[in-house]
């Protein structure tokens, strides 16, 4: 006689498995992104050192594409994972998370593209040079163009982090709850970190910029690792409880 799992429970197991895979891929993405923090000394050193420039080009070609592919794959797993979690009927909030995870990056990236295009047009318009030095665009207008996109993505990450924390609390997997908490902290720091790395001249965060980037990246890395382990254990717990419930039902 073939065993049949209840559809509600199997969706949860499926969802947690996909979320684990997404976390593993996110961990790999964070790991590959780490060299970019220390490998190059910033635009100034690239301009001075042709070897650094060559290394940067190779890094962008090889690692950049790999990071992009891994990032997209992680996102797809996340969307499918929260989709299954929504269908499992555990929480209505997971359906909102599904939408946030799906639409947040789409809207955020679209806003960044539009902002980038507007920034490019403004740079073309005010591309005059003063005393031999390029006349920079006002920082405020740069921030106004990129900030909305970054904030939309950060808010989507927050919703996702809260849901992961909730799964950790429900399944009583401490690693997952801890990973989600770190993920939330990393999400809080993310827009600042991205702004700091985008505007080398902005002196955002002053001398603490490099330190801030490292902390933020380390937090993302640790969060992904804990989430991967946590979702795996949570999945095991759900499978166990399903088996127990099924056994009780059969008895």
């Amino acid at each position: 006689m073939s065993e049949r799992k209840a559809p509600v429970q199997s969706e949860a197991v499926k969802g947690l498995g996909r979320l684990r895979n997404a976390a593993i891929l996110s961990f790999a993405t964070s790991l590959l992104s780490l060299p970019s923090l220390g490998l190059f000394g910033g635009p100034e050193s690239l301009a001075e050192d042709p070897f650094a420039l060559l290394a940067a080009l190779i890094w962008v070609l090889v690692f950049g594409l790999a990071i992009l592919a891994l990032g997209v794959a992680a996102w797809v797993f996340k969307v499918l994972g929260w989709w299954s979690m929504c269908r499992s009927g555990m929480r209505r909030f997971y359906c909102a998370t599904r939408l946030a995870v799906l639409l947040g990056p789409v809207i955020g990236v679209a806003l960044l593209i539009v902002g980038g295009a507007a920034l490019f047009l403004e740079a073309l318009r005010s591309g005059a040079r003063v005393g031999g030095e390029p006349s920079p665009l006002p920082e405020e207008s740069m921030l106004a163009y990129v900030l909305p996109g970054l904030l939309v993505m950060a808010v989507a990450n927050v919703v996702e982090g809260v849901s992961a924390l909730d799964v950790g609390l429900i399944t009583e997997v401490k690693a997952l709850a801890l990973g989600a908490a770190i993920y939330l902290v990393a999400s809080l720091l993310q827009p600042v970190q991205l702004l700091a790395s985008a505007f080398s001249s902005a002196a955002l965060l002053g001398g603490a910029r490099g330190w801030w980037s490292w902390v933020s990246s380390a937090a993302s890395l640790l969060a992904s690792l804990l989430l991967a382990v946590g979702f795996h254990w949570a999945r095991d717990r759900v499978i166990q409880s399903e088996a127990q419930r099924e056994a009780a039902g059969t008895a």
């Binding site: 405020e140 106004a144 904030l151 809260v162 993310q190 002196a203």
Partner: protein
């Protein structure tokens, strides 16, 4: 510990608000980019861009606006800073309101009396913008720039026909016959036209006097016809001193101030608008009216 659906929503909202707060706080705490070392002195660069107006709206009938208050403050800062040995005014403006342009003119005159001022017209340096830079020791312009348009105009737009079609009636109670001169709710009377024309003529006379006080014109009647000129013609007519580049204007300012050739250039900028104002700027524009019936020292039609 398990969270309810409501608690999850509240937690997400609170943390999302925290993301925005942390980002805004980090931006507020950022340090300004270091300025080039001034040493014994520097050339201050001030941009006069867009229509000159007192209102702080970023848009008007004449395009984007340059706040006269901000510009006067910048000119004042250059005047008071002993290290600002010379000032370059980088102009790209079709002009603006008579009062705002006059305020700039007076401040530039005060500045030019104490240190060398060089004006560089990049695209447009017409009407009120031209008047504002008249006291500069030298006026240079890019080859394809448009200069002149020395004149004044005012326009009255009436909606009486439109309101009548909509069935809207406006009753005006006034203390004197000409209290509502230039009103949009009725057609201007002959007396209205006479009053408005005399105001325009009065401001134009003032403008003419200032041009004649600062420039030696080759053909005054052509200049005062109100037409704009290309830079080359403007040089021939005596409206400007020469054609050049911004670098040339900066070097000339250094030379006039006795500064070394590598003396730094510092751009003086108005205080940054708040992030909220930047993000909500477009929405707040709707609340700022643009009065059509002000005397305007601007090129007409405004550059698109």
């Amino acid at each position: 510990m398990k969270l309810s659906e409501k608690q999850l929503v509240l937690l997400s909202a609170a943390l999302s608000a925290a993301v925005v707060a942390v980002t805004v706080a980090a931006l507020a705490l950022r340090r300004p980019a270091p300025l080039p070392a001034a040493g014994t002195g520097y050339v201050a660069l001030i941009r006069i861009e867009g229509a000159i107006a007192y209102q702080t709206s970023q848009l008007s009938l004449l395009g984007s606006t340059a706040s006269a208050d901000d510009l006067v403050q910048l000119l004042d800062a250059a005047l008071k800073d002993p290290l600002a040995k010379a000032v370059v005014l980088r102009v790209n403006s079709p002009g603006g309101s008579a009062a705002a342009s006059e305020a700039l003119y007076l401040k530039v005159r005060e500045l030019a009396a104490s240190k060398p001022v060089v004006a560089y017209i990049e695209e447009y340096g017409t009407s009120g913008a031209y008047m504002a830079v008249l006291p500069a020791a030298r006026i240079l312009a890019a080859n394809s720039s448009i200069v002149g348009s020395v004149g004044v105009y005012t326009s009255v737009i009436t909606y009486s026909g439109l309101l009548e079609k909509l069935g809207v009636r406006v009753y005006v109670f006034k203390s004197g016959e000409l209290k509502d001169v230039g009103s949009s709710f009725r057609e201007p009377s002959e007396e209205d036209k006479r009053v408005l024309q005399s105001i325009v003529d009065g401001i134009f006379e003032l403008f003419k006097k200032r041009v004649l006080a600062h420039r030696r014109l080759a053909n005054a009647s052509e200049v005062f016809s109100g037409r704009p000129f290309l830079a080359e013609e403007a040089v021939k007519l005596g409206l400007i001193d020469g054609i050049g580049t911004l670098d040339g204007a900066v070097n000339l300012a250094r030379e006039l101030a006795g500064l070394p050739k590598d003396a730094p250039v510092r751009e003086l900028k108005p205080p940054s608008p708040g992030l909220l104002r930047l993000l909500l700027g477009a929405a707040s524009l709707a609340r700022r009216p643009v009065a059509p019936s002000v005397e305007v020292l601007a090129m007409w039609p405004p550059p698109g």
